[in-house]
């Protein structure tokens, strides 16, 4: 395994060379990847995020620069207590300097709190709650890849503009689903669309047919799926079975990852509209990156959450290099100061409220005939320019914004 060798090489090299980074506590920069390694979100983040973090360390060239960087991993099992106790232990005992990824809003919010208390760094990639750059924003946290607002905005806007002006929401009955639904509804209404109805299903639900039938009777053109993971997959799968798409209604996935489409298969998923901040087949850089990634990760292409970890870790290390210190709030301030640039998101920047800004893209899932092979799933339907892709800073109510 390539990264492993280079990682050890880095460690040995760092020990041998002179420590120019005297300001770095205990001489090692420790990055903790905390996510769901085994449960619902394991495929879209999980071990893939760890691969991405290690690639970032390698690409940054820590070894050559004489910096010693270590990546540690933990499974928070989607339980906030577990996540919170790991975070505390990492910061207090294991001298971890930054935590990255953190799917599941409840865990992300808990770790956000602790990171601020201990003055470390948190880079959230797979966590979705927009509160991280709103009422819970912190000088120690950057929200990297996407959030519920940007998904709602991307899909909602584009769909209404393409004529999908009447919606029915299928919402997972929990805070995440509610906020996706509300934010999308606001976008739909703003663009002159209307909402024909909504149904809140318990989380998780394996059978969606009853809710789909309600969506069908509503005669809405678009069925917005304000849920995630297995719920979304089941809804789309059963929608195909009940002839929802054939009878002229269309699904809009508000949080769909590449791995979900992979799990559904194109036969069922075709025609689905969704917003993501990354797709492996966007340009030469993303293709090259993704192929490297796939080699290290059982041939699977990266999801946006995983590349977010890569991009975040890379920028974090750049900031430390520029600052020559690893003190939490200062590093984050530096990260906000430096423009971001990497193979996956291209150029971008970090806002005062901790929101990383880059383009978002609207994709449509290909028909089986259009796909040239494994993982060739999306066609680009539109680009949401960075400036419009995220919630305006003023609307979030973040106390860091003056």
């Amino acid at each position: 395994m390539n990264w492993k060798r280079s990682f050890y090489a880095a460690a040995v090299f760092a020990l041998a060379t002179s420590p120019t980074y005297a300001q770095i506590s205990d001489g090692v920069i420790k990055i903790g990847v905390m996510n769901d390694q085994s449960g619902t979100y394991a495929d879209l983040a999980g071990p893939g995020s760890v691969v991405a973090a290690r690639m970032a360390v390698e690409d940054f060239g820590a070894a050559k620069k004489g910096m010693k960087v270590e990546v540690v991993v933990a499974d928070h099992q989607n339980k906030p207590e577990v996540g919170s106790s790991i975070a505390r232990q990492w910061y207090d005992v294991d001298k971890v300097d930054a935590i990255v990824d953190v799917p599941t809003s409840s865990v992300a919010l808990a770790v956000n709190q602790i990171t601020r208390e201990k003055n470390k760094v948190l880079i959230v990639s797979t966590g979705a709650t927009v509160d991280l750059t709103g009422k819970s924003c912190s000088p120690n946290t950057i929200h990297w890849t996407y959030d519920t607002w940007s998904l709602a905005n991307g899909t909602g806007n584009a769909v209404v503009k393409n004529g999908g002006d009447s919606w029915f929401f299928l919402t997972a009955d929990y805070a995440f689903g509610h906020s996706l639904e509300q934010q999308t509804e606001a976008v739909v209404l703003k663009n002159g669309g209307k909402v024909m109805g909504k149904v809140r299903h318990p989380f998780p639900s394996s059978d969606m047919s009853s809710f789909l039938l309600q969506a069908q009777t509503s005669k809405a053109k678009i069925i917005g799926l304000a849920n995630a993971g297995a719920d979304t997959i089941n809804a789309i799968k059963q929608g195909a079975e009940f002839g929802i798409v054939k009878s002229g209604q269309q699904f809009a996935g508000l949080l769909v990852f590449l791995t979900d489409v992979h799990s559904l298969g194109l036969n069922v998923a075709q025609g689905l509209l969704l917003t993501e901040s990354f797709y492996w087949d966007l340009n030469d850089q993303t293709r090259a990156f993704s192929k490297r990634f796939a080699k290290l990760h059982k041939g699977a292409m990266p999801t946006m959450g995983q590349v977010g970890v890569y991009s975040g870790v890379l920028h974090y290390l750049k900031a430390i290099e520029a600052l020559k210190s690893d003190q939490g709030d200062k590093v984050v301030a530096k990260m906000k100061e430096l423009p971001t640039d990497d193979a996956v998101f291209g150029k971008g920047w970090v806002r005062q409220d901790g929101r990383k800004i880059h383009n978002m893209y609207l994709f449509e899932v290909k028909k089986p005939a259009e796909s040239k092979g494994a993982w060739d799933y999306y066609k680009l339907r539109g680009t949401i320019p960075a400036e419009q892709a995220f919630r305006p800073e003023k609307e979030g109510g973040c106390s860091l914004v003056k």
Partner: protein
């Protein structure tokens, strides 16, 4: 000496030996929690104490009354939510927040106990599961719980308005005091006349009835005590982690406490503490292994049931008993 007095003497000797064993075990446990923070991360130990109290409270019911509740998460979770809410929104001091949590769990225990206590065995387990699912539903729906985001950033506050609990040591001492008081209370209950009646009910319900005991009242009281102490554990846990979230009300948490009790030793005084320690240590220190944690838990479950059904402490006790003869 007559045979009867001989037997009585043997019984007394037996009890004395047991008490001696308990005293030694208690001293060991106290020493572990007193000096543990020097070696083990204190927040982890606080979590262990909270869950140990939860498991002990559960064990009071399963080990000493023979009632398997499969819904105990509702008391842990409710205690946590109420304490978190009162501390964060109402600004109560921590001791009052914990009391509120305990009180609500106790009332919940009374209500659910009145419904559940009339059934036995698997039906009791199922009815408690049903009630816990309803409580779970309530927690998902109720606005104050924050849905799956949970209640975050709960202040630890100042104990009695004086001692600042954001100080790690102060918090640790408070959790330890709560745990040891709860533990001793349970110990006292088990060895009181009330506890003897409970054990009689476990052994033979019909005989207990024929001896004139109103067994439902005894069971209900034990159930309410167990619920209240679980609430205390949940409330304390919420303050330690400064959050309350859905997973502590979920039915898998009810399963976890069964596992802790079984692993440590069903119906032993110290078993649940050991069980909680082992299980949480696995969850915490094997966290990078992902799915293997679940697999390891499952394997332990199976091994426990197949080979040492008395649990760690139960087997140890049997070993010493055998050895000392």
């Amino acid at each position: 000496m007559t045979q009867a007095t001989q037997q009585a003497a043997a019984g007394i000797a037996e009890r004395e030996r047991e008490q001696k064993q308990h005293r030694i075990a208690f001293v060991l446990m106290a020493a572990f929690f007193a000096f543990g923070p020097a070696l083990i991360y204190p927040v982890f130990l606080m979590k262990v104490m909270c869950f140990a109290l939860f498991a002990c409270a559960f064990n009071l019911l399963l080990g000493f009354v023979g009632l398997l509740s499969f819904g105990h998460a509702m008391f842990l979770g409710m205690g946590g939510y109420v304490a978190a809410h009162t501390a964060k929104v109402w600004g109560l001091t921590p001791e009052l927040a914990i009391l509120c949590g305990a009180a609500v769990s106790g009332v919940l225990g009374l209500v659910s106990g009145l419904i559940a206590i009339r059934r036995q065995g698997i039906y009791f387990a199922m009815i408690t599961l049903a009630l816990a699912q309803m409580v779970y539903f309530f927690c998902v729906q109720a606005p104050f719980t924050g849905g799956e985001d949970g209640i975050q950033a709960v202040p630890r506050g100042k104990l009695f308005g004086l001692i600042d609990l954001s100080n790690q040591l102060a918090m640790y001492v408070m959790v330890a005091v709560i745990f040891f008081s709860g533990f001793l209370l349970i110990y006292r209950i088990i060895h009181s006349p009330f506890g003897q009646v409970l054990k009689a009910i476990r052994e033979n319900e019909t005989r207990a009835i024929s001896l004139g005991y109103d067994i439902n009242r005894y069971k209900l009281l034990a159930y309410v005590i167990s619920a209240t102490l679980s609430g205390v554990a949940g409330a304390t846990n919420a303050l330690v982690f400064q959050l309350a979230a859905l997973n502590s009300v979920h039915w898998t948490m009810s399963g976890e406490v069964v596992l802790m009790t079984l692993l440590g030793g069903l119906g032993t005084v110290f078993g649940p503490v050991v069980g909680a320690l082992v299980l949480l240590a696995m969850e915490n220190y094997l966290a990078q292994l992902g799915a293997w944690v679940t697999i390891a838990q499952g394997v332990i479950f199976v091994i426990c049931v197949l080979t040492f059904r008395r649990g760690i402490v139960g087997e140890l006790m049997a070993f010493f008993k055998h050895w000392s003869r």
